[in-house]
Each structure stands twice: as C-alpha cells, then as structure tokens.
C-alpha cells in the first residue's frame, strides 16, 4: 500500500495556521495523548472522571479561560482556543466540555459581567484549576426556552434569596462555584453562587448513555441566601447568558470536528488492516466512498470553524454566525461518527475503539448549547426576518 494522507492534510490546512497556533495545538494534542486517551475508556465505562485532577492539568498549561485576558488567563486567540477544543474533543467530548464550561461559560460570565471583586476572587483560581465552575441556565421544565425559567431571586434586605432547580448542569456535582441565572423583578439576572452556600445541593445525574466521562448534575436551590455582591452587576436580561453560550458554541463547533477526526482516523486505520473477502476492506469502493465523503465534510467543517475563528479575532462574531458552525459541525461530526462505526463492524460498538463513545457523546453535544432545531430557527429568522420560535 502506498503512503496515506491524513484527512486534514489533504487540503494542507496547516498552511492556514501560524507557528504559534500550531505550537498550541501540538501542546494540547500531546496533553490529551498522555493524560486523557490512555484512561478515557475506563472513565466512560465507570461513569467516573477525575475532574479535579484534569482541571489542574489543564490549568497548568493555561487551557482554562485561555481566550480571556488578565486574571491569570493566557489571552490566546480565538483560533488557538478553537484548535485546543478540537484536540480535547479528539480525546473525549467530556474533556472538551470541562474546558468549555469552565472557560467559556463560568469564567467568561464572571469576566464579562462580574464586579472587579468577583473577578479577583474567582478567575485566578479558576484559571489554574483550583476552583471548578459550572453554569446553571437549563431547568427541568425549561431547556430550549430559558426565557420562561422558574428559578427566582428575590431581594432580602441588602441580599438575595434564590429558589429553584437547575438541571443537566455540567460539573455541578464537583463545582466550587456556579453562575446561576434567575428571574428577578428586574428581569433575568446572574448570580455567583459558591456551591457550599447553605441551601445548595448538587445531585449527580446517573444512567447517562452519553458524556459518561463528564459529570452532570442537578442543582437544587432551597432558600439560598446570598449577599448583595453575589449579583453579576453587568448582566441584564437573557442576552447575558446567551452571550456566554455564543462563546462556548464557538468552541463546540471546533470541538466536534476533533471527535469526528478521531473516528475517521480510527476507521481508516481499521479499514486498511481488516481483511474480508481476501483483501483489506479499505480496498472496496463502498468503503472508499464513505471515507472520501467523510473526509470532505471534515475539511469543510474545519474551514468553516477557521473562518469563524478569524472573524472572531478580527471583527468579532454575530450569534447567528456561530449557529451556522455549531449546527453544521456537530451534525456532520455525528454523521461521521456513525458512519465510521459501520466500518468497524462489531468492533465499532466496543469501548476498545473510540468510535461509538464519540458518537454517543455527540448526541449530547447535538442537544446542549442550543439544539440543532434551535440553531435552524436562529438562521431561519436571520434569513426571513420572521421568528418561528413560538
């Protein structure tokens, strides 16, 4: 067999990256190869992940809040952040979720809308992984439609009282601090809630078939009394949490490609080794058609993500632009993962190979941070000027 070309090398995509971007990508690739890949199948099978240890390791290289400026954050470019997400998710969507939630949701929320004291208190600790953050927007009865959330925060003298339940909150069971969104007389506001506050309980959600190498939980807020300075002063209305989501979705658009790339690499290697009917299955035209189509989609997704990254680093991003990339790249990544699964035959359903683990993870990724349908509605509204949400 002649030499093989890796899918993302077909278009020489590295030529679009700077030395620094490649150095950062290679660093995360190495970290994932050494610290995530050897263990992740076991984490997934056991449904238990050493989130704190991982956060410390990620923090040590500067992965947590890497695209933010100041407060111990690395201040890297959006493209570098995207490449990091891609490498992380090539390991597992759970590792990328940790970095997304910590950096783009919890830290970004405090960084963009917090008081100076809140930033000083939390960001440096979160950047090194000494403090773990989570982000509570979704509720049991309000997912795609957070505007109708039930969690309430009421004035109580100088302080606040929070009541409600947040559901499907990544890292809630291990977090030190939550950025919680609640309805007030003054619209939706954000609060920085230490998880050891009286009245806060976090329950692990068990029986997941997806993102098993990531902790997910429910946060019960039972008459939680918070001081006045727990309020994020600059966050007013739903557009504040939505802006955090835009940050995270950007990273997910890159991340999903990592999972897809890992599946495709695995499928190609497998197809070249596995023999049926007296020859490697890579030699069958049907297999090659699958591989070629997947490689094409993967590269298109990369170009889309990179385009977004360059926009983010120059003029900034509009939410609907991020919707395009999140919708496309997660949808295509999931299709690639499932298609790769077929190439591995029975081995495709085993945890010995990463493929079905990635496919299962991507089911969550398809749903969180705005379902595909919601992103279609965002794009549809942009195209037509008509809102179809309700």
């Amino acid at each position: 067999m002649a030499a093989r070309t890796a899918p993302l090398d077909l278009l020489a995509l590295d030529s679009l990256l700077s030395q620094e971007e490649i150095a950062m990508r290679d660093l995360v690739r190495r970290l994932v190869d050494q610290q995530v890949r050897p263990h992740v199948a076991r984490w997934f099978e056991d449904g238990r992940t050493p989130t704190r240890d991982l956060a410390k390791q990620f923090g040590a290289v500067g992965l947590l809040g890497m695209h933010l400026q100041g407060y111990g954050c690395a201040g890297a470019s959006a493209v570098s952040y995207g490449l990091a997400c891609m490498e992380l998710e090539a390991g597992d969507s759970g590792s990328r979720s940790l970095v997304s939630v910590q950096g783009s949701l919890a830290m970004y929320g405090i960084w963009a809308y917090g008081s100076e004291a809140q930033k000083q208190r939390w960001l440096p600790d979160m950047a090194v992984g000494d403090a773990i953050g989570c982000f509570g927007l979704t509720e049991p009865d309000h997912g795609s439609d957070p505007a109708s959330m039930k969690t309430r925060a009421e004035r109580n003298g100088d302080g606040w009282v929070l009541r409600g339940t947040k559901m499907w909150i990544t890292n809630a069971p291990v977090a030190d601090v939550a950025v919680v969104w609640a309805r007030t007389d003054d619209g939706v506001r954000g609060f920085v809630v230490p998880m050891d506050s009286e009245g806060v309980t976090a329950n692990e959600i068990h029986h997941k078939l997806s993102l098993r190498a990531s902790s997910t939980g429910e946060i019960v807020l039972d008459e939680v009394r918070l001081p006045g300075d727990a309020l994020l002063p600059e966050a007013r209305g739903l557009k504040a949490p939505l802006s955090c989501l835009t940050e995270a979705r950007y990273g997910i658009a890159w991340g999903a490609l990592g999972a897809a790339r890992d599946c495709l690499d695995t499928a190609i290697a497998y197809a070249c080794e596995r023999e049926q009917f007296g020859r490697p299955i890579a030699g069958f035209q049907l297999t090659q058609a699958k591989l070629a189509d997947m490689a094409v989609e993967l590269q298109k997704g990369f170009l889309l993500a990179l385009h977004l990254g360059r926009l983010a680093d120059s003029v900034g991003l509009r939410p609907e632009q991020v919707s395009i990339a999140k919708l496309n790249n997660v949808r295509e990544a999931l299709a690639i993962a499932r298609q790769c699964r077929t190439i591995l035959g029975a081995n495709g359903i085993s945890l010995e190979y990463p493929v079905l683990r990635h496919a299962n993870n991507l089911e969550s990724v398809l749903t969180y941070e705005g379902t595909s349908e919601i992103h279609q509605l965002v794009i549809g509204q942009e195209l037509t000027g008509v809102s179809a949400f309700t």
């Binding site: 030395q19 620094e20 150095a23 970290l31 040590a60 290289v61 500067g62 890497m66 690395a74 201040g75």
Partner: protein, 259 residues
C-alpha cells in the same frame, strides 16, 4: 545561578530515520525534527534550579537554520533566552569539533552550570558533556539521575547499570542527565506566546573566533566510511521447556541485564 542548557534538534526517534546518501549525515529534510528527548529533562532540571535558587536559564543550540523551531519550543517551557550557533561551515562536524564550538560559545556566556542530556537520540555517543567539561576546565558530573545544589556544591547520583554512585563537585560544572531525573513540564500557552519575544542571539564561527577549517567535514576527526540499514529482525530465540526452561529464561534475562 547562571545555567546554560544544551539543546539539540534531532529527527524524531519514533519515526523512520535515515542517513543521507551523499554525505552520510543525518537526513533532516525528510524527518520530523524535534528537541532531543533527554534535553527536555535537562531544561526541566534547570528550571527547577532557577525556581529554587534564582538566576537565569539560557538555551544553547548548534544547528542549522531550522533548529530555531526547537529553540522556540525549548523557550516556551520557560528559559529566559537562547544562543544559536549557526554557520554553514558546521555541516559535517564531528563530536570533537562540536565540543570546540560549544565550549567557545559557553565561554562567552560564563555559566556556573551547564546541563545537557546524557545522550542524543541520533548519535548516542554520550561523549559531548565530557569533552565540554575538559575544554572548559569544569567538573564533569555525568549521567545524573538526581542533582542537588547547595551553594557552589553540586552532588549527583550517577546512574550505573547496577545502581548509582554519589559524585560531588563545585561549580563551574557540566552535568548530564538521564530521563530518570524528573518529569519535564508541558509548555504553557503563556510560555508559547512569550517565547516569541525572548531574545535569541545568533553566533557565527567568526563571532567565536573559530576557523571554518577546524570544523565541518574538513576538520572532522572521524568519518563515516559506509553505512547500511539494520537487517530486518530475525526470528528470535525459542526456549523449549524440557525441565530447564525457567533457568534458561533467567539466564537470558541476566545476559541482557534485565535482572
């Protein structure tokens, strides 16, 4: 403390490596060129010493233009600056000539301590640290698996095949380290961004007062006469257990120094 770490760019030892057919030097064009693995441990040791005792860490590399990539990578782990000895005439230099050049560069830097990897994965000679110590009139503390610094006194545990020896000397010294000495840190994103701004001084043979004839193929004390690829692996030895199988296995392990 002024520490200089020697860093060599080598072809990735995990991939296929070749010698050039025209001049028998290492083929760098077809290779993925990386920092010599053992040198990362040397960098880590230097950074730990800087953290504990203060001072400055300088990377010193002799190598072609593209070795600059490895210098940036090394700097992204945390050293302060670098010196790159770069001269076309150096191509084909033997170990003796290399030590002459590096010693001349080290004299301009006046370090208290030079740390190097015990060997490079391409040549695996293990001679350079000794040659440098000799040329600099410094102590040679080679093959360390542990290094402690107490003022000007350096103590190493020298790793041997059977165990270790404790060797003590005072600065200035050349210490070479094995990969048992520490666990090198990852670079950080900040480190990668800062590495771009760190000073890298380029020195030519002229800057070091060395004549081109003393180095390169012309000045080489050794020459590669012939080279061939290692023959493919043979079938290995098979031990049939006719009651003595265990003994034979242990004898083999002892002969290979595994036990």
């Amino acid at each position: 403390m002024k520490i200089v770490v020697l860093v060599k760019q080598v072809p990735d030892s995990g991939a296929e490596r070749n010698l050039r057919s025209d001049d028998s030097t290492v083929d760098r064009d077809s290779a993925n060129n990386v920092i010599n693995e053992m040198d990362e441990y040397a960098i880590e040791e230097a950074l730990k010493l800087r953290e504990a005792h203060g001072g400055e860490v300088t990377i010193l590399t002799m190598g072609p233009e593209r070795a600059a990539e490895s210098i940036r990578k090394a700097l992204s782990m945390g050293p302060d600056k670098a010196v790159h000895v770069l001269d076309d005439a150096l191509h084909g230099s033997c170990a003796l000539a290399t030590s002459k050049v590096l010693a001349a560069a080290l004299k301009t830097l006046e370090p208290d301590l030079v740390i190097a990897g015990a060997e490079s994965t391409d040549a695996r000679g293990q001679v350079l640290p000794h040659m440098l110590a000799e040329r600099l009139g410094a102590a040679a503390l080679t093959g360390a698996r542990k290094l402690t610094v107490d003022g000007a006194t350096l103590t190493i545990e020298r790793q041997t095949e059977e165990g270790y020896e404790v060797v003590t000397a005072s600065t200035p010294a050349v210490v070479s380290v094995w990969d048992t000495i520490n666990e090198p840190r990852y670079p950080s994103f900040k480190g990668i961004m800062e590495a771009k701004k760190k000073p890298v001084q380029t020195l030519s043979l002229g800057d070091l007062g060395i004549d081109a004839g003393e180095v390169g193929f012309g000045g080489a004390s050794t020459a590669v006469v012939e080279h061939a690829r290692r023959p493919p692996r043979q079938g290995g030895t098979r031990v049939n257990d006719d009651g003595e199988g265990g003994v034979k296995l242990v004898e083999f392990l002892v002969s290979e120094k595994f036990v």
